[in-house]
Amino acid sequence: MSLANQLRYHLNVSIVGNSVLRLQRWQGEWQMSRPGSWQNAHIAPPVAVAPRLKELISRHYLKGQYAHLGRKVAWVTSGAPVEFLVALGYFVLYPENHAAVCGIRRMSESLCTAAEDAGYSPDLCSYARTDIGSVLTGKTPVGKVPRPDVLVCCTNICQTVLFWYRVLAHHFNVPLIVIDTPFLYTEATERAVAYVKAQLEDAVIVAERVAGRSLGFDKLKQATRYSRQACELWMKIMECGQHRPAPITAFDEFFHMAPIVEMRGEAFTVDYYAALLAELEQRKANNIGAVTVESKRLLWDNLPVWHRVRWLSEMLAERQVALVASTYTNAWGELAHLVDPERPMESAATVYLHPILNRGTGHKLKTMRRMVDDYQADGVILHSDRSCKPYSIGQIGQRNRLADELGAPALLLEADHNDPRAFSNEQVATRLSAFLELLEK
């Protein structure tokens, strides 16, 4: 980074950008504190730290906008080891998160169409289509997405990412690091761990070359420490949902999870989650539920339906139903205990082998069973996501077994996490209402 660029980066991000965002946050906090500012009778007002979340996310994308002034940029899959990139000073962008933002802001449909116009199949995951559409058209709701200098693709979530990242590598003509994680039918073998670790070591070499600096071991340990702390806090935040009434729902978590996914390994993420946890503990103590009247509690499986989060959350809240947990948000907390800051490479190899999507369907069923118990859920909504095949496979059997073995009624809800064209309001409303009638009987 030249000195002039360094100064411009700091001026734009640290001085001007930060001040503007801080001001917006204060404004948000002030507006929230005014009586009558919250109108929904069925849902509790948002947590007071919510404007901080907005500030964090905006700052993240702001850094991205100015990254060309000297920071190297890595695009990574959601399940990829990120700590070495953070330690090397990369700006890390998650195309999946970016696609989710496009979904929330109602842009994913036109971006998916743009990708399909370019010849990509509508059967491809809608995250991939959204992002490829965004790359091809330059359209994004976040201002500007920085061009990658390196791509890191870890196959621990699906095989789609492998092909998607090859497309990106070809398009941007930048190095692609692939970290192949053998699927775990049962336990991870030593050989599997060694295999992933060796790839991580190779990845570091490529990332160092692109960054033009070498990895400081202390920095890596520090990033890993922050990762672990953030994951632990995130787990505790989700566990607040075990309280009756639940002070937080999975719908809230879908938004609060942004930092744990795209800002892992950073001190400010740890601070944010500590503040959120403190507030939720307070809500627990005062018995404030996220849903004003909580009569039933449900567990959610699979990705959110990004383009309908609000609609779904209002519909459930009106019927006095709290979505108290989800396997999806849980995935970012459940592995905290495996993260060992003193052995960052070995522990990364183990951790990144174990995401729920890299394990058999039996493991997911076991997780759901445990969560139904821990969160005292009355039933389960299994979002059958047209896009995400690895998450949706086995759900029919899982639905039947949850009902037969646990007596927890489960609903299979067909949708798509980012493509609104594969979603029918009327059909979903009917299925969901019928399911709630079944629970209420």
Binding site: I396, N400, P409, E414, Q427, T430, A434, E437, L438, K441
Partner: protein
């Protein structure tokens, strides 16, 4: 005629059905019409025709609305989904637990009912017309036959052409090419009914169907579909007296129950 004490209104995608019941839960008044584009006006008009129930001011007795148009009735009435209503109506008619297969105009449902008449599980066709009454309407119309006559043709045929598609659009083109190849309409009709029966049977199996099997909805009147479904699922199907009115009847029973509560 006994007085109507509760009303069920089932505003379906194809037909709108209204049922009035007496205090002992017997149907004493009924009407069925093709659903009009102005569903709200149609519902209001039909509700006003119920004998002794308030005329144009709307019914004074409790009403439960169901079907796709259920949200169009006055907000003072309760809305319940077709799933719960069909289960309630059929349970009261047949007085048995088991698996209800409802083939409606735009969707088909499989509803597992427990010994107390409650819904244990249900499954519905996914987002297309495959596996619904619409499928047969389209293919029968293509052959210039009524749905009933088209079903009778299927049953009259000892032979059956294999039809792989349950997609309404693709099946139609497959049918045209089979005709062009010289296959008899009867065996094509049987093949089409078979394809639909298979589709519904697999939906039933996925929902964990248990015997006995029951049927409701317009599709229950289709003799060929019923016979082939029995054949696919290996069990006899029991029918309520008025299959097509079961959604409205169940809604009326729920209205009555609510009035009593």
């Amino acid at each position: 005629m006994s007085t109507v004490v509760a009303i069920g209104a089932d505003a379906g995608s194809t037909t709108t059905k209204l049922v009035g019941i007496s205090h002992d839960g017997v149907i004493v008044w009924e009407t069925i019409e093709p659903t009009e584009p102005r569903m709200r006006e149609q519902l209001e008009r039909l509700l006003a025709t119920i004998p002794g129930s308030g005329g144009s001011a709307g019914p004074t007795v409790p009403v439960v609305a169901t079907g796709y148009g259920r949200n169009l009735v006055d907000t003072k009435h309760r809305r319940v989904t077709e799933i719960t209503c069909h289960a309630t109506g059929v349970y009261r008619s047949i007085r048995s637990s088991g698996t209800l297969i409802d083939i409606g105009g735009q969707d088909s449902k499989v509803i597992v009912i427990d010994a107390a008449g409650g819904v244990v599980n249900f499954a519905m066709n996914d987002k297309c017309a495959a596996g619904t009454g619409r499928f047969l309407e389209v293919v029968a119309a293509r052959m210039r036959e009524s749905v009933q006559d088209f079903a009778a043709l299927a049953l009259s045929s000892p032979e059956e052409v294999a039809i792989s598609n349950t997609c309404t659009v693709f099946a139609e083109s497959e049918m045209v090419s089979l005709l062009a190849q010289g296959h008899a309409i009867e065996s094509i009709s049987r093949g089409l009914h078979r394809a639909l029966a298979r589709r519904v049977a697999s939906l039933a199996r996925s929902a964990g169907a248990v015997a006995p099997l029951m049927m409701s909805g317009g599709g229950a009147h289709n003799v060929a579909l019923r016979a082939l479904l029995e054949n696919e699922l290996g069990a006899a199907i029991r029918l309520p007296a008025k299959p097509q009115l079961m959604g409205a009847y169940g809604a009326a029973l729920l209205a009555l129950r609510r009035a009593a509560a």
